[in-house]
Amino acid sequence: MNEMNTEGYVTEDGRKIGGVVMEMRNITLRFGGVVAIKDISFDIRQGEIRAIIGPNGAGKSSMLNVISGFYNPQVGEVWYKGERRPQMKPYQVARQGIARTFQNIALFEGMTVLDNVMTGRLRHMHAGLVAQSLWKGRAEAEEVKNRESVEKIIDFLEIQHIRKTPVGRLPYGLKKRVELARALAAEPSILLLDEPMAGMNVEEKEDMSRFVLDVNDEFGTTIALIEHDMGVVMDLSDRVVVMDYGKKIGDGSPDEVRNNQDVIDAYLGVAHD
């Protein structure tokens, strides 16, 4: 593995990874009798692509939901940018700069692609209701300025042609891309992707992988992603957390994880004691 210290490390392809932006400490999350996450700790560093993998039901989505404030863990602490995060509502977490996509697409079906992506900008828009109702001053200036940023993202993800299309009419692959656009529009400091390539064909997966790499490369966005396709994970990620039955069974570079006996067992389905 690469040299790692508090300042960060340098990846094999020469990208500089910074210090820790988000740290999960001893997280335990229960739903009644079901323990979805059992005492898990890991960190996410500035500028890296961090993967979370594991078999179905391992607790990966639950972990993203803890990060985005949708679930509150019974035990454990979330540290963000060097401070312990108090209990927060999901919209407050979003406004801190944590954006995400969902395993089952969660777009606003009745709105156009443009409006969906513009909604992603809401943490950058502050005009009051009165200004908005007159479409004057700050309201108008904000609309134009934020539209420019949104158009850049629309160009970047190559969805110009469907800008004005209601999202409900789009095919699955494009919806996934629009959802990524909406998350990117927030200019997040951490981007959470829950199975961004699920249900895609090979070509769409390649496109999506390229977008993820480009986002990380061009905007320096820190990315945490869940993915089942091992090929994709190995190609994209800098470090990998492996979960199984709510427990962390591996954490390290793709190579380390691939050679970890526990991980191999989990994926080959060795009986649990």
């Binding site: 509502k89 979003a94 969660a106 606003f108 609309e143």
Partner: protein, 358 residues
């Protein structure tokens, strides 16, 4: 006809977000405004005013208000009648308590009072949705009518229990009371409708509208990308009730002049405005106009055609009206939730491509 986007290139994002991006639509809009402000006031008479224009203008304001709540924010309300009553009674109390203040401001403040009451009754929407919310707003409807009936303070202890609008003027011209001229009341309501439509349009094309629609389409996703559901829903209730309150104030002070609350602002009114929104088109400002026009004109048309023309009995024509409205509601709900506005949009879409549809 040259109904085209081609050759009408947008060179800035500000131009692209304007209300009527296609030049022809813009011209038609100005033409309608010009006729409404410069022609109609000179030709309008009492019959047209009371049978068609005043109800159309005032119901359009109410429908715009309700559409913001139901069509844009996805929160069902059956309390429109009750909220119109709040606007009416607020206006009445203001008119009688502050006779020196212009009625124009009374109407606006009545809207503000209704916004506050609407926000209060919107609080349950934070916990309950859909059918249950509809029932809660229905309770608001009955409660408000009961309140205005039972507490004499609201009708200034008058013996009849009614409220009556005293004469008030704007620039010396009477707009309420017995001595009004048709053009004056028409213009007053037209000004309120135009302003309401502009404000509603601006709100719905900007961030406020996006937040409302996000809540409507998927509230959990909306919250996770940063929409505060409490503020989004309550602001929809506030803005919606503001317009509904203005409509109620005008309905009482300018249109009817005297109101008995149970009769005028009962549950029927809630359904009437809801039907306007459904038939006109959920989530469309233009649809609010279309729905109001349709439901105001339909009875007038049937009466003139069937009763006046063919000599049918009046009650038969009224029954036919129920059947038509009922049938349309079902049809639109099942086949075209975006209502008349969508039919119009599809027609324009076809026209834009005509005569080469491919």
């Amino acid at each position: 006809m040259f109904y085209r986007e081609a050759g009408d290139f947008k060179t800035s994002y500000a131009e692209d977000t304007q209300t009527f991006p296609i030049r022809f639509d813009r011209y038609r809009y100005f033409a309608v405004l010009a006729v409404a402000f410069l022609v109609v006031p000179f030709v309008i008479n009492d019959y047209w005013l009371n049978a068609v224009f005043l109800p159309f203008l005032i119901y359009s304001i109410a429908a715009i208000g309700l559409n913001i709540l139901v069509g844009y924010c996805g929160q069902v309300s059956l309390g429109t009648g009750g909220f119109m009553a709040v606007g009416a009674y607020a206006c009445y109390k203001l008119m009688t308590a502050f006779p020196d203040v212009n009625i124009f401001f009374h109407v606006i403040i009545a809207g503000g009072v209704t916004a506050a009451v609407g926000t209060l009754f919107g609080l349950p929407s934070l916990r309950i949705k859909g059918f249950y919310l509809a029932v809660a707003t229905l309770a608001a409807q009955f409660f408000l009518v009961w309140l205005f009936n039972r507490v004499p303070w609201f009708y200034n202890y008058s013996a009849s229990g009614q409220i009556n609008a005293p004469e008030r003027t704007i620039f010396g011209i009477p707009v309420t009371g017995a001595e009004t001229a048709p053009w004056a009341t028409y213009l007053l309501c037209l000004v309120f409708l135009t302003a309401s439509a502009l404000i509603a349009r601006n709100l719905t094309r900007g961030m406020a509208g996006r937040k409302w629609m996000a809540i409507r389409d998927m509230d959990i996703a909306a919250e996770i990308i940063g929409v505060n559901p409490l503020r989004a829903k309550l602001s929809a209730f506030a803005v919606s009730s503001f317009f509904v309150g203005i409509a109620g104030a005008l309905f009482f002070a300018v249109y009817l002049g005297a109101v008995e609350v149970g009769e005028v602002f009962g549950i029927n009114k809630s359904f009437l405005v809801l039907f306007m929104v459904i038939i006109g088109g959920l989530g469309s400002i233009f649809g609010s106009f279309a729905g109001a026009a349709f439901l105001v004109l339909l009875p007038v048309l049937l009466k003139n055609l069937l009763v006046g023309g063919l000599g049918w009995p009046t009650d038969l024509a009224a029954h036919l009206e129920f059947i038509i409205v009922g049938g349309l509601i079902v049809t639109f709900l099942v086949a075209e939730p975006h209502g008349l506005a969508q039919l119009w949009r599809v027609a324009k879409e076809k026209l834009r491509l005509w005569p080469f549809p491919h």
